[in-house]
């Protein structure tokens, strides 16, 4: 069984590459029971969204062309 430390490392990797079936299964099983890691997972996704939004704000200017 992987512990929280290992699971979150996998979650991070999963943000940037496709994990193996076994790895995804391990994550899924773990986060069913572990709210901390579940929070880490959703918050990592949130941070990605925030980062994109942040960049979007930076480049927001009225006269910007596509």
């Amino acid at each position: 069984m992987r512990n929280c430390r290992e699971i979150t490392a996998l979650v991070s990797q999963g943000m940037d590459k496709k994990l193996s079936f076994g790895e995804r299964l391990a994550i899924g099983f773990h986060v069913m029971m572990c709210s901390h890691c579940r929070n880490f997972q959703s918050q990592s996704q949130f941070m990605r969204k925030a980062a994109r939004r942040y960049t979007g704000q930076l480049q927001n200017r009225p006269d910007k062309k596509p």
Binding site: C4, N39, Q43, M47, A50, T55
Partner: protein, 211 residues
């Protein structure tokens, strides 16, 4: 190069459309360093123009985007040489030799020796709503800037500029393994910072860890 020097052969490789595809990424890259839309736009414009003019020197080995980013870096460096402001850029390009800033101790701040969370992530109340609040973005920016320079660079290249993982590695000289570790630590830190300074503000659990 084997290509005959005429424009025909190079334009087969590098069309304007092909170059234009990379514009958004280049723009974000420039913007992060120049912090100014117009300057960033100019730098990208110059980059694409230079790329177009020197298309024959593109060897295709490193990949088009890597090549373009390389040109862009020069354009940005030129800009900083012209103006004397030294603001944000330094942490982008001159941190390549830092060692140990993301040391072993890093993850131990978050996990106990048995691999369980020290004080694990709590659930956040309506994160989506935060995205619409100006104050949140000040916190976000502060947290992002609080990351150690190299970590911040890796995180920004990936999540803000939007480079692919292997591109970030080339750009930063990180090995594959180091990339995963660095990104993970960046997420752990950023997450905790956001939690402490924004989402759990009321609970205000002061941590001793502070750069």
């Amino acid at each position: 190069m084997l290509l005959s020097k005429g424009t025909k052969s190079t334009s087969n490789q590098l069309t304007e459309a092909l170059l234009a595809e990379h514009r958004p990424v280049l723009f974000r890259y420039a913007l992060l360093q120049l912090r100014d839309n117009e300057l960033a736009d100019d730098a990208v414009q110059e980059t694409l123009l230079a790329a177009w003019q020197t298309a024959s020197s593109f060897e295709g080995k490193a990949g088009l985007r890597t090549w373009l980013v390389g040109i862009l870096k020069h354009k940005i460096a030129d800009h900083w040489r012209r103006t004397v402001r030294e603001v944000v850029t330094s942490d982008f390009d001159s941190v390549d030799n830092e060692e140990g800033e993301a040391g072993e101790g890093d993850e131990n701040d978050f996990f106990m020796s048995d691999g369980h969370w020290n004080s694990g992530p709590t659930s956040w109340n309506d994160p989506e709503a935060a995205l619409n609040q100006q104050e949140f973005w000040a916190i976000y920016e502060a947290c992002q800037n609080n990351l150690p320079p190299k970590m911040a660079k890796v995180f920004m290249l990936r999540e803000l500029v939007g480079l692919e993982t292997d591109e970030v590695c080339r750009e930063t000289g990180l090995s594959d393994a180091n990339y995963w570790v660095t990104m993970h630590r960046a997420r752990l830190r950023l997450r905790e910072c956001l939690e402490t300074r924004w989402f759990n503000q009321s609970k205000a659990k002061k941590e001793k860890r502070h750069a």
